[in-house]
């Protein structure tokens, strides 16, 4: 039977109705408007391990959100586009990139690693009234009203690892620590000093090394000479954790190791052994951890996110792979409350309540005592340890606010001694 003229007219009429009124335009694949979010981070250079995997994570997040219909604001659906700029962890490049993202790309928020790259940007960010985020709350001060630390409260969460260590291994009485001499390493030193003091673990050696160090044999020799029960790697760069751990194994160390991060730990295991790395404590879980499926976790479907990420970018997962996406989650939450993507509206919406949904559970806006402004989102943080099978697993979620309530004076004392309080920074 052939197609009649009437059939063609029916089909045409049905198509016209569907495309015009029957379904929302986004459901038919019509082009939606795009909101741009900026990532000004080290994508190359020494610190790229804490930038590039973040970009990969953000791209995955944006693809997931866009595939689910985008972000609905003011009755309209928007796609999210991540616009990145490689600041190489250089202050001048960071300012250049920040200006480009804000002035040329028109982004609605800028995510940064912070640290050395923030101070040069601060004045311009204030002038532009741009919502900006950092992973390092030590960038916060009363002069940074538009800067949030909504995910990582580095290095304060390190207290939870030391607290867990002291409870699980009460026989540990001495620690030797090394740290690179930069804005990541020194605040972390102060935090670990406070945490070990509270835990009554005596610090027997501290070696602060240059970030350009290539040979860690002498540093490890120096640390092990004091025969510590615990070796603390502070917030050493991801590659440094690898090299120091290998050196410790080669020089016969058999005690506990605690570190802020342990990115790509399978590579370290391949150079040492599962036995050596068994019990290595750090603060960043793999997102295939079953404990992340608990109800209080706000990160959307972490196990699937991890699986998709590993498939898309094998061997690149680091701490920042989920951190920048979790900031995007929070931004989406704020934008939807504000019903607007405008930076100041989102900021106001986020700060309208004393708490907000952090990746690891509801957390409170906090930080006035340490940074002069309550712009850091602080709550629970996981303590992770590598098990005998060579897999990192969450041991517990430690409460940073509870530790702070008991020991704030100790932390402030060490922060001040290291000149890390906001009023001591230039």
């Amino acid at each position: 039977m052939g197609i009649t003229r009437r059939d063609i007219l029916k089909a045409a009429a049905t198509g016209a109705v569907l495309s015009g009124v029957g379904l929302p335009k986004w459901a038919l694949g019509a082009k939606r408007k795009t909101l741009k979010i900026g990532l000004c981070a080290p994508l190359t250079g020494e610190v790229s391990a804490w930038g590039l995997p973040g970009l990969y994570g953000c791209e995955l997040w944006a693809d997931n959100v866009n595939a689910a219909g985008g972000v609905k604001l003011g009755g309209k659906h928007y796609d999210i586009e991540i616009v990145s700029y490689d600041n190489e962890y250089l202050p001048d490049k960071a300012l250049q990139g920040y200006k480009k993202l804000v002035a040329e790309e028109g982004v609605k928020m800028v995510m940064m690693l912070g640290g050395d790259t923030w101070p040069g940007v601060q004045r311009w960010a204030n002038h532009a009234k741009m919502l900006t985020t950092t992973l390092l709350p030590s960038d916060l001060s009363p002069d940074t009203p538009y800067l949030l630390a909504p995910c990582e409260v580095h290095p304060i969460y390190n207290v939870t690892g030391v607290d867990w260590l002291s409870r699980k291994f009460p026989q540990a009485k001495t620690v030797a620590m090394c740290a690179q001499n930069d804005s990541l390493g020194i605040p972390s030193v102060a935090t670990y000093e406070a945490a070990f003091e509270v835990a009554k673990i005596k610090m027997v050696d501290l070696n602060i090394f240059d970030p350009t160090t290539t040979d860690f044999a002498p540093i490890v020799t120096s640390l092990l000479a004091k025969k510590p029960d615990v070796l603390c790697l502070d917030t050493a760069y991801a590659d440094f954790v690898n090299l120091i751990s290998v050196q410790a194994k080669n020089q016969g160390y058999k005690g506990k190791i605690i570190s802020c991060t342990c990115d790509n730990y399978p590579a370290i295991i391949s150079k040492t052994s599962k036995q050596f790395m068994d019990g290595f404590i750090f603060q960043f879980p793999d997102f295939d951890d079953p404990k992340l499926n608990q109800k209080f976790i706000n990160f959307h479907n972490p196990n699937k996110f991890y699986k998709d990420y590993i498939e898309r970018r094998p061997g690149t997962w680091t701490a920042v792979s989920w951190e920048y996406p979790s900031i995007l989650d929070l931004w989406k939450y704020g934008a939807e409350i504000a019903d607007s993507p405008e930076p100041m509206s989102v900021l106001k919406a986020l700060k309208s309540k004393p708490t907000a949904p952090h990746a690891f559970g509801t957390a409170e806006w906090w930080g006035k005592d340490l940074w002069g402004v309550d712009n850091a989102l602080v709550g629970n943080w996981p303590v992770v340890a590598i098990n005998a099978e060579g897999k990192a697993r969450i041991q517990e979620f430690g409460s940073i606010p509870k530790w702070w309530d008991k020991h704030s004076k100790v932390l402030i004392k060490h922060m001040r001694a290291r000149k890390q309080m906001w009023d001591q920074r230039a």
């Binding site: 994508l43 190359t44 250079g45 020494e46 790229s48 391990a49 590039l52 995997p53 001499n181 020194i186 030193v189 000093e193 610090m203 050696d205 501290l206 070696n207 602060i208 090394f209 240059d210 350009t212 160090t213 290539t214 040979d215 044999a217 002498p218 540093i219 020799t221 120096s222 000479a225 991801a238 590659d239 440094f240 690898n242 090299l243 290998v246 194994k249 080669n250 020089q251 016969g252 990115d263 790509n264 590579a267 391949s270 150079k271 061997g315 690149t316 680091t318 060490h414 001694a417 290291r418």
Partner: protein
């Protein structure tokens, strides 16, 4: 808080001008007087490994400068290419480690020869032009490494000799370091024999001392330049290849190494091979002991201070080329 921490942290670059910096160093060393023999021996073993690699890097730099009059800023990147070659051949493609090391030597030597023929030879007599060309090569090699290997975490080169050997009670060294040390020392000895016992080696040294006089004696300057560049690049590549299982293999790994190589070369006397080897050994011990007993930051600062001091007081270096060779 440890008193030693204060020393380490306060010695930032601004402390360069503090008159008590050296005093603080000695106070700190004295504080370690309870140090054990084990610690000294372990540090000495670490120093030997560091010295041998400093020497390998510096000798190549000196060879290139001595013969061609060019400060090769891309020397650190040749070292990086050596390490990357081992990662690519051994880790990614399963070649035997030593075959990968030889492969790295060949690759980097060929890059050196290409640099000599296309970039440095046309700039002969123009040290500034050669220097700028070498900076260009530096960036090209870095970008190539980024394009081929990506950025992010360092490349994993699993040590082919994963164990450790206890030399004395409390003094241990990884088998990988022992192997690298033996090969590095062997290479330096082989190079010394080549330079002092063979006609080609004599010709190379002759060109290094006075190229015009050497040419008048019938020595082919082009050929010797290629030899110097090939050898210099090859040793840098070998250093990178040997150390790749023990260091951070990433596109910018040449930065720190080239600073050390310059310190050694300048203090030893630019163009002086014996000076470079001597200072590499001394500096290796100095750097490692200061890093162990004080901090790496102080070690690097003092190294640069020594270089500045030598440049002011004895610009030709400890064994300046004009004076001795």
């Amino acid at each position: 808080m440890l008193e030693g921490n204060v020393v380490a942290v306060q010695c930032t670059s601004s402390a360069l001008y503090r008159p008590f910096a050296l005093y603080l160093l000695f106070v700190h060393l004295l504080r370690h007087k309870e140090t054990s023999v084990d610690l000294i021996l372990q540090t000495a073993v670490n120093s030997m490994v560091a010295s041998s690699f400093f020497a390998l890097m510096a000798v190549g730099l000196v060879l290139i400068f001595g013969v061609m009059g060019i400060v090769n800023f891309a020397h650190g990147e040749l070292y990086m290419v050596g390490a990357y070659s081992v990662w690519f051949l051994y880790s990614a493609n399963g070649w035997p480690f030593w075959l990968a090391v030889i492969g790295a030597f060949v690759i980097v030597t060929l890059i050196g020869l290409l640099m000599e023929r296309t970039l440095f030879r046309p700039m002969r007599g123009n040290p500034l032009g050669g220097l700028i060309n070498s900076i260009g090569v530096l960036f090209i090699l870095q970008v190539l490494a980024v394009q081929l290997g990506g950025v992010g975490l360092m490349k994993t080169v699993i040590p082919p000799f994963p164990g450790s050997t206890t030399i004395l009670n409390g003094v241990s060294i990884s088998d990988q370091r022992i192997a690298a040390l033996i090969v590095a020392i062997g290479l330096l000895v082989a190079m010394w024999l080549f330079l002092t016992r063979t006609r080609l080696g004599w010709a190379l040294r002759a060109v290094s001392q006075d190229s015009e006089a050497a040419a008048l004696q019938g020595i082919n300057i082009n050929r010797i330049s290629m030899l110097a560049m090939g050898l210099g690049a090859g040793t840098a590549g070998l250093a990178g290849a040997l150390i790749s299982p023990m260091t951070r293999v990433e596109p910018y790994m040449g930065h720190g190494v080239i600073i050390t190589a310059f310190i050694v070369t300048i203090v030893g006397g630019i163009g002086s091979l014996s000076g470079a080897v001597l200072v590499a050994v001394l500096y290796g011990f100095f750097y490692t002991f200061v890093t162990t007993y004080v901090s790496g930051t102080v070690a690097m600062m003092l190294g640069l201070l020594i270089m500045l001091f030598v440049l002011i007081v004895k610009p030709n270096g400890l064994i300046g080329v004009r004076a001795s060779e």
